[in-house]
Amino acid sequence: MVTVLEMPETPSQLTVNQPAPTPNLEVERGIIEIDSVDFAYGTNKVLHDISLNIPPRSVTAFIGPSGCGKTTLLRCLNRMNDHIDGAGITRGSIKIEGLDINAPHLDVVDLRRRVGMVFQKSNPFPKSIYDNVAYGLRIAGISKRNLIDEAVEKSLRSAALWDEVKDRLHVSGYGLSGGQQQRLCIARALAVEPEIVLMDEPCSALDPIATAKVEELIRQLKEQYTIVIVTHNMQQAGRCSDVTAFFYLGRLIEFDRTTKIFSNPAQRQTEEYITGRFG
């Protein structure tokens, strides 16, 4: 499969309401391969035939109006929807590095270690900053103090928070500002060395400065991690992501380079949504 980042930037004519142009494939596999996925909450089908390949070590943004299915799809990537009764994938497959993540005997805890998640509202545990970051390591069975110390510092540095908290590692995470709490949650996700980090509107509760810090962090993290971000902030998608997927009514309408989506989208629905002419 050719990932979307390898697609040539050629001008294209505007076309109207054609099926989503799933990037055409074969040179390099996406780290996440979503193939013909349908998803339903009980009898309510909310994702229809979604196929896309998410390129490794890049930022992929999911955009679309509320209820379009972008968060549902994001939560499919580390099986967070398993906790909802009657909800699940009814067709298709999701593979991460070639491994079907919905295979019957898959270790979900290990999956979630490999695919970390950061939520809309920062949700530190009622513990110290240190213990928040160390939590994942401890439940993974790591008990050596020096290993945990090392991982905590590394994760906090990666989350661009170390300099701000290094002198108060043992105070409660609740004492941090909203932006710092969100970066603490990112550090907590990074501590278990995931390959993929999912972010569900990570800046929606943050002020512009805290948002800028998280966005800068995202830019740095993509050197090492594959990041998938759901955002309602179009400018943020434009600033942060390399590729963007636009969803509408549970369907993937367009998936392409972010520069292409925001300068000359191929689909009329995408154009109308990003320019504010929707509905």
């Binding site: 001008p11 004519q13 505007l14 179009m234 300068s263 320019t275 509905g279």
Partner: protein, 228 residues
């Protein structure tokens, strides 16, 4: 393609104001060039003076379009076709202002020519003017109607204007050698011919911007791209 209404009515209003000011600039520029050329062909100093005075209003409109464009970018952060429309309108206004400057240059040269006996070679200018103005009007039409085909049709026509300019310049240089007493007059006609050639260049730029606005395709400087 006529875009559906924006959710924010203020955006549509701001974009309409921007485009209307560009249209106004285009009408004033067209009128200014027409007055300058008529002043030349009919030896009318009054028209030349009006053409020169017109420039001030066009300069002010250029500043207004830039201000409105920057405000629009700042307030609405447009993307996709909206962004292209704003950027193209600003670029168009810059080309229109330069085009109007050529009108002023023509009017100034015409006033100098009018102080001396008429030169029959002045008629060389008329077909060039008509050719340049057709290019100009088509590029503006293409921008307003987002007509990519019409915009593309303007670009090859610039060569015809360049050829007319070369031919007129050759003829005028010959006349300078034959009749050195009218040297200044012929020189002024050469300058006017070159001004019209520049008007064609600006019309070409505007047509290229019209293609970008409508189709997101950058067709500038394609002759410089080496063939693969």
């Amino acid at each position: 393609m006529i875009a559906p209404k924006h959710i924010l009515g203020t955006f549509d209003e701001a974009l309409a104001t921007l485009r209307n000011n560009v249209l106004m600039m285009s009408s004033l520029t067209e009128r200014s060039l027409e007055r300058a050329i008529t002043g030349l062909l009919q030896r009318d100093d009054e028209l030349c003076a009006i053409a020169i005075a017109d420039d001030e209003e066009i300069d002010q409109l250029e500043k207004q379009v830039d201000k409105d464009g920057i405000d629009l970018l700042l307030r609405f952060q447009p993307v996709a076709s909206d962004l292209r429309r704003v950027v193209s309108a600003m670029k168009l206004s810059s080309n229109l202002e330069r085009m109007a400057d050529q009108g002023t240059n023509i009017a100034r040269r015409a006033r100098k020519l009018n102080q001396h006996p008429a030169l029959p070679e002045t008629e060389l200018i008329r077909p060039m003017y008509l050719h340049a103005m057709t290019m100009f009007k088509d590029s503006i039409d293409a921008f307003i109607r987002e007509d990519v085909q019409l915009a593309r049709s303007v670009i090859p026509r610039d060569q015809g204007l360049d050829d007319m300019n070369s031919s007129a310049s050759r003829r005028l240089i010959e006349r300078m050698a034959e009749d050195p007493t009218q040297l200044r007059g012929y020189l002024n006609l050469i300058f006017i011919s070159r001004c019209l050639e520049r008007v064609g260049d600006h019309a070409t730029n505007m047509a290229e911007d019209a293609v970008y606005a409508a189709a997101a395709e950058d067709i500038r400087h394609q002759h410089l791209v080496p063939a693969e």
